[in-house]
Symmetry: C2
Subunit: 344 residues, 2 copies
């Protein structure tokens, strides 16, 4: 069930220069967790997006993850004009030329690996190029952003990071606890990403990141993907200008190559899915039924990406910086991380 | 626990011309189900083998199969000088030049797909290029060689065959029932193999195949891999000459391009594993403990492949035919099947 758009007017960027810049840029979304079908993919194409880190597993174990990946392959086989399963940044660059959507499969958890580090390479072989270490709760790998105690990176977590480094799977810290995040940056020989979070100075929230974590990640060659999810921008009342000013300040503080976007779009789901995200199988659903938050009027889905380009121009960022933030920074990070590292 | 070899003398082929032919040929074994490690792979190299269909799952479901494939990837990562994971016939041809062993992952059952046809493509993506439809007992796909009743190919079986055709996974009928085998040949739009069986006219046994099945397979462009497993050659008393005469008669009856070898080597296992093969999880192990059969003195493992070349020369086959039987026929079949088929 896609949300109804409030106005078709919103789809158009406000200026000709923004439209030209948006069309020229290779746009990569650092994270979406939509309920994918042809219509949902078409929204990305309408928004000018060429590459996306699409979540293929959150609470799933190995067998359920296989099923999810099987669904992706079937979707690709049935929609070759629209969808290509990507393994490299060049696959995304090619998708831009073909007017297709290049999907990098991603995990928002390490549950798909079970307790078996060898499954890192197995899922990497299936096209899983990005994995978040934990999702909201403590797991075998480390502590999470909503857990009162953060164990730090575990011994298994160190093995997982070493395997991810070796095979070329990008580590994502978005829902990870701060202590585990710092441990991960220390343990990893490859750059790390926070694909979809904002700084706590923008909105104080367990899902956002203190300066210490953001600086550790970006100083080690990693990136922060600024996130549009209502919770981490302070709700639907937050303006496009405020969001873009946050991006501009991050560019100023951390450099133009360290910042990208990770919208966290959750298109085409009903409320049952937000309950699954919140509770998985680890706790009962509880009294209060989980519901999706309301998105700000200026960003309700991938079709609104042109508005971000417009907003970034308006807060004074130059075109090169904006092209970096819209996607080229992600592409460069993927070029660096995806070939893997020799692990002695 | 590798069996002790009776004599190092046995390793050498008996004639210079056999040795030259063996060295020149690209040798492919249609099936081995050994307990793989570096030493076991070295046996293949010693025997002059460049490519092998190595069984990665028999009774395993999806999750356990992932673990088995993870083990293969680790073995390959640790032994790059010796082992390469192959996806094409050209990978095997290259391995011959590199003096390495190219492994095609194979299933001896369809249990790894569970009840989900989408997993065909998922496991194909992991390098599983060959799958037998059933292993000894009736399953979701069809009837098996030891089952008193053969259901024929099921509706799920038709979907599986269609998916295997589409993605380019070779169908194997070795342990499949005769009725299901004939149904499979009818249903498949790509050639099919019997990777490791002999004709019932050589040894009457449920694991061997009547003329009707062999002819259906080979007339549809498929192949029969002649098998060395003691059970299907009539035990250890059978001579190399008798085996090679069987091959020569098959070449005579079916043509020189329809015949290959599938040794069914089972190296480095203890008796517990033969119990697992026989009983899986579908029946208790029973009173009599399963034990491995004794192999004939002239063929106890992959190192004895040169003796086959010698034997095939001695029964009067020409060099081109022998090169075909030793591996080139498999390579041509792989070239045909592995790219997949367009399914309307």
């Amino acid at each position: 069930m896609a949300e109804n758009r409030t106005s078709t007017l919103l789809k158009a960027p406000a200026s000709d220069s923004a439209a030209a810049l948006h069309t020229a840029a290779t746009i990569v979304d650092g994270l979406q967790i939509s309920n994918w079908d042809r219509a949902t993919l078409e929204e990305l194409r309408a928004g000018g997006i060429s590459g996306v880190n699409a979540t293929a597993a959150v609470w799933e174990g190995p067998a359920d993850t296989l099923k999810a990946i099987g669904d992706w392959y079937q979707l690709a086989a049935k929609n070759p004009d629209l969808l290509t399963m990507a393994r490299t940044a060049d696959d995304i660059r090619r998708a831009k030329l073909d007017n297709r959507i290049a999907v990098l499969l991603g995990f928002q958890n390490t549950s798909s690996f079970g307790d078996d580090y060898k499954l890192v390479e197995v899922f990497h072989e299936l096209g899983v190029k990005i994995a978040q270490l934990t999702y909201n709760i403590q797991n075998l790998v480390g502590g999470a952003c909503y857990e009162p105690e953060d164990s730090g990176l575990t011994r298994f977590g160190r093995t997982i990071i070493s395997e991810m480094n070796r095979v070329g799977m990008l580590i994502d810290l978005s829902h990870v606890g701060n202590r585990t995040s710092l441990d991960a940056v220390e343990a990893s020989v490859a750059p790390i990403a926070i694909t979809h979070s904002n700084p706590t100075w923008f909105v104080e929230n367990p899902r956002n990141k203190p300066d210490e974590v953001i600086r550790a990640v970006t100083e080690a060659g990693g990136m922060l993907g600024c996130c549009l999810y209502p919770l981490v921008i302070g709700g639907k009342k937050t303006t496009l200008e405020q969001f873009c000013q946050m991006v501009a300040r991050l560019v100023d503080e951390l450099g133009p190559t360290r910042i990208g976007l990770g919208s966290d779009c959750t298109r085409n789901w009903d409320d049952k899915f937000v309950g699954w995200l919140r509770n998985g199988r680890w706790q009962p659903e509880g009294e209060t039924k989980a519901t999706w938050p309301e998105w700000p009027e200026w960003f309700v889905g991938p079709e609104d990406f042109p508005r971000l380009t417009d907003g970034l121009l308006k807060v004074g960022l130059d075109e090169t910086t904006i092209r970096g933030v819209l996607g080229e920074n992600w592409l460069n990070l993927f070029d660096d991380v995806f070939p893997g590292r020799k692990i002695s």
